[in-house]
Subunit: 307 residues, 4 copies
């Protein structure tokens, strides 16, 4: 079934709030998200600052011990102007190199051209005025209700997903979450038209979205951290601090995946990962950071299909 949903309320925590829509396994939902400061497609402030979320969507039959798969079918900026901050965060710079910017110059507006897929900054001097950045729309924050009845700020991330700001979560990707609450309760928002690795200036190109996604319920499939899949790779996510801890979580989740779902024994899983694994860095701005572990399907496929 296809749903067209227009949000009227936005949450700044991911928790067990009242569902805004009930959907079933395999349903497709088309809706909108507002930007990180709460502004919508018409530039009206309709949500509270700090990654206001669209949702939660209740998936019928989902319960603790299941996984929820969400495929991002379509992610499109729905207005012309996006915003970034321009100061790299102190926590990703050496102390003697901290930026000092006038407060009134920290925010930059960008004009998005969806036809040629390019953003350009407005009202800036050269050389900045020459900058052209390819669009690569992605939701910075999304996830499901966390364990034990917690309600966690959309400023951070954990096993439930949250503010991961990973620029590999683009249209076409499927993301898997551990279900912890009845109905899973999926939220999404914090759209970025583009974003460098790490979200090191504390923002991507903040924008409102038209989004369409499909939900699939995987009964009895238990996972520990978010996983994902795109055309070329399977991916696992670890959210924590410091980054070393993220690496531990995401690497472990990849071992679990290879062992449990791909049927590799421990020696094969470790050997394969040792010589072929890849890592991407998500958010390094928030209270919890994010690292992504990736396994190329091409190499994995040879290993698995030939057995």
């Amino acid at each position: 079934m296809n749903h067209q949903f227009t949000p009227e309320i936005y949450y700044n925590t991911i928790g067990s709030h009242e569902p805004v829509l009930r959907v079933s396994n395999g349903d497709m939902i088309s809706t909108t998200t507002i930007d990180a400061w709460g502004y919508d497609a018409e530039n009206n402030k309709v949500g509270k600052r700090g990654n206001p979320m669209t949702g939660p969507f209740y998936i019928e039959g989902a319960e603790k011990g299941d996984s929820l798969a969400v495929t991002f079918d379509r992610i499109i900026p729905n207005r012309k102007i996006a915003w970034t901050r321009c100061a790299i965060a102190p926590n990703v710079l050496d102390p003697d190199y901290y930026p000092e910017f006038d407060d009134d110059k920290v925010k930059i507006a960008w004009e998005l051209n969806l036809d040629n897929n390019i953003a350009r900054p407005l009202d800036v001097d050269p050389p900045l005025s020459n900058l052209r950045i390819p669009l690569r729309p992605m939701p910075g924050c999304f996830g499901v209700a966390p364990p034990n009845g917690q309600a966690i700020s959309t400023a951070t991330s954990s096993t439930h997903g949250g503010n991961m700001d990973y620029n590999g979560f683009v249209q076409g990707v499927t993301v898997y979450f551990p279900v912890e609450a009845e109905g899973a309760l999926f939220y999404l928002g914090d759209g970025h038209a583009a974003q460098g690795d790490g979200e090191i200036v504390g923002t991507g190109m903040e924008i409102s979205f038209d989004v369409t996604f499909t939900v699939y319920l995987q009964k009895g499939k238990t996972i520990t951290w978010p996983r994902a899949e795109n055309e070329t790779h399977i991916l696992t996510v670890g959210n924590a601090r410091p980054l070393d801890q993220c690496v531990e979580h995401t690497t472990t989740e990849m071992v679990r995946w290879l062992e449990k779902d791909y049927g590799l024994n421990t020696r094969a899983a470790h050997t394969l990962m040792g010589q072929t694994v890849e890592y991407d860095m998500g958010n390094v701005y928030d209270p919890a950071y994010t690292m992504v572990c990736k396994m190329p399907k091409r190499i994995l496929g040879e290993l698995v299909t030939k057995k």
Copy 2:
């Protein structure tokens, strides 16, 4: 001038050892490196375990305050058999997921086929026996004498380079180092025929190399951390622990580079990096970890050349 150099001694620290060869700005050196356990092309043990280095090469005229550029012209495995370990290190896994392997099964031999650029494991059972990994030869450890007369183990890394195990340092790349000692004193070794990100099993495919590299002296050009350049990106390196610290160092070095060499003002440098920067993960096995910050030349070029 071209040098053909045959090493007779190998060092396990990078420091102010007696130079093995004196070369000049622009000279090309062809030599060999032995593997991390000290075995050469004929599988003879000629060096001491723990990343024995070929070098140091003394570059005439190099002194503190200069930079040394080294271009890897050619990196070729010079024997058929490489070795890996197969157990992911405990420090990159959650405590409840540590591997336990029989000691006699931890090491795996790989046969390299240079014609079709593929490695395959020997004497292993399916599914491991089906694994085929593309070769991508890279020296795991290289660098110049560190500051203040230190002699630092080739097990670790710092501002001088060292055991960074970054799989982007392949043939064709140019790496820049801060010169701290007279003659710079360049070392290299610890060849890997291939390696996953992070060297998470503590080894790449350990192999001996035939290598050719060219040295360029950049008088009076002061840098703080290793930098590099390939066809598509400029790169900076941060070596420390935890990874967060690496991110701080490498990000700061990129800002320095953009400001000092590309003439960007602070606002332009930060804004550019915020929306386009990329990070790769080097070693997460050694006492010091490695992160690499990358800026796409294509985007940077537009910004700089149009001013």
Copy 3:
């Protein structure tokens, strides 16, 4: 006013739950807490495992921007038997030194003797049977509702307090919290009859308590992290990961305190702290760790009173 309160419900998150009692500035509350596994004074399981809390107590008039001061007037174990685990957590040991214990031997019972203030282990062999540990009762987890409507698991800690497991929070200490929700909403539990620094085995001597505490509302007094005061020191708390981050938070809070409340200029505050500051380590077992920064009142007093 004095309140005698008997809890009937226990929460495993600290958030904006329905208050169990409304009290006023200066009121004293006598109540009980159950142990970390949910067992009460009669060893009945009345709460859910994982630090079930007594509370929340609503303090009339408290609102965001205020501070809540809580003085622990009396903390007394109210049963004879406490429990510990005996295995040091993997995250505080080198990987090659992880313990392996039979699961049925991991838990140890301790008999508390309140007359001579000593605990001794039961049903253990020598030499363990000779161990005598002085009692020093402390609540491991307590705090107020966190900001932005979050509900945070009692397994962890942050600016609101939570599972800090600092063994300096004993009878007689006054702790200050930043009020973020209407009524402040104070919770406490997770009693320990004694505990080593760091709670490195994941438990103190887990026990139920009779507790009496007094609440004081400090209108308009804004603080960022928990603070505390005992006879000899003023203390600040930082909760995060890694410990370095805790050090940053707690040190900054101490500077704030010295500058804003003790009227020291920045140079005096830094100089004083540089040569006299002390640090204690709280929890290093949970998702967030804890460090405590301490300033001796004796030295501070000389500086301040003589001006």
Copy 4:
């Protein structure tokens, strides 16, 4: 045998430099150290900035696999004026709270009064002028030659000791080191007349010392990290980054000590530590940080002697 040694050379790395004096097991050495900037008792600059060391002292018969014990018999400042910096380091403060000081006001002179054991700052305004700090002389940096022929800067620390800046290393303490090079090669310097935990301003009260110490060789006694002993505690040291890593190293070394030397089984060692261990924080300013793990002799003694 007693030696009176007057240094003529000072090293800024700890490594296998030419010994300045050869001594035997049980010998007592009286000598002097200069301050961190290279100034001696007469305020003459005789060494190079950055913790110039007195030594190395060669202990006859010491070789890899032994331990060296050094007892600090006497540590006395040998001039009247000490120096501190007054700005807390950025790496121990939140980014929004970094100090900014005029460079010419960052250094403060202190007058030491050895009769009443107090230091007071000179040429400062109230309230700083009222500050009186008790003396507690300690060498900030000392250790033995590190493994594998390394030469490590006296700015940092590792298994060999080095710049640990732990204010518990005072007169009367015995420190144990793992011997890695022939003769052990002991160095010491970087005297502090007093110092807060962490050396958070990057200096203690920097001063030159008259020191007397005694060396004891423990043949065949292998240890991994520095250990120490005072009247009330046995202590172990971990030097690394982040602090979490220090905690792992020092905790593991304490377990080793309890198991191997005190004969406790694993369960007894872990249980004892869980409820009684203490931690102190050493340096958090340098490239490597320091944590100290302590076990009270009183409690340990009961456990061990009664068996």
